[in-house]
Subunit: 130 residues, 2 copies
DNA sequence: TTTGGAAAACGAAAAGCTTAGTATTTACTC
DNA sequence: GAGTAAATACTAAGCTTTTCGTTTTCCAAA
């Protein structure tokens, strides 16, 4: 039986994917330039991470002139769903309501955010109902 | 300047904390016994993990007879909030509404779960409003 | 009070993640 | 085509996490 792969990104990989998702596609240099100033990675480190991401099939690359341009193969929202599912399973007994409970407990949540959340749930309930 | 600690548990640490949270407190043996059958860890591995958890201040221990009984120092709901915050920051641009959007997108979500979620949000909105 | 069995303490091997150095390739310029 | 500047490929060092073996400690029962 094959060993279960986690299908989840490591911390650094996620850091890079976030930039690629934001810009659609980009080179090693593009991504590095977008990272915070205090994050100084060697160019080669960035290249390694993108190479690994390609190995893991999270991105593809095509050659453009002499440089590689990387493109995500997985949409951000899909990955978001996957991550949430994982967290829900591991920490919330697979009970989404508990997860939302913790979320809305948060003192710092604005009324506006709460309103948006409610609208989302309502819309979904209506679509299901009829 | 001190390096930022993540304050988050590793995969295995979380596995153990979940059992401690479920039973309130317990020994190495107690926790190991609760893990799934296909998860066979040596006794010493379990002991190591709990020792590390104590080092990181997620649990305390007291001696009872010859064995150590471990107790969480951090409530599960606090840790849930912390984890969600972390995920939200790293993957949802710190926008809780987006997070909920992904959650309610989930096809497999039952109507009941959706209702519970809505009730939670409503209650919170009412409490705030007056 | 000796001893046998279970647990704790310690240390360290194994595996995985992060970072980067060196060597090689590439495309462009003269 | 030789020089050169920038990018890629390859490799590995240094951490952290995961796992467990060995030694030490402790209790309980003979």
């Amino acid at each position: 039986m094959k060993k279960k792969k986690s299908e989840l990104l490591t911390e650094v990989e996620l850091e890079f994917m976030n930039e690629l998702w934001a810009i659609g596609e980009g080179t090693v240099r593009d991504v590095l330039d977008r990272l915070p100033d205090d994050r100084d990675l060697a160019y080669t480190s960035g290249a390694t991470i993108l190479r690994i991401l390609e190995q893991k099939d999270f991105v593809t690359s095509r050659k453009e002139g002499k440089t590689l341009v990387y493109t995500p193969t997985l949409a951000k929202d899909i990955y978001q769903t996957r991550s949430l599912k994982d967290l829900s399973m591991k920490l919330f007994d697979d009970t989404p309501a508990t997860l939302v409970a913790r979320l809305v407990d948060d003192e710092t949540l604005t009324e506006e955010a709460l309103g948006q959340i409610r609208a989302l749930v309502d819309r979904r309930l209506k679509n299901d109902g009829g």
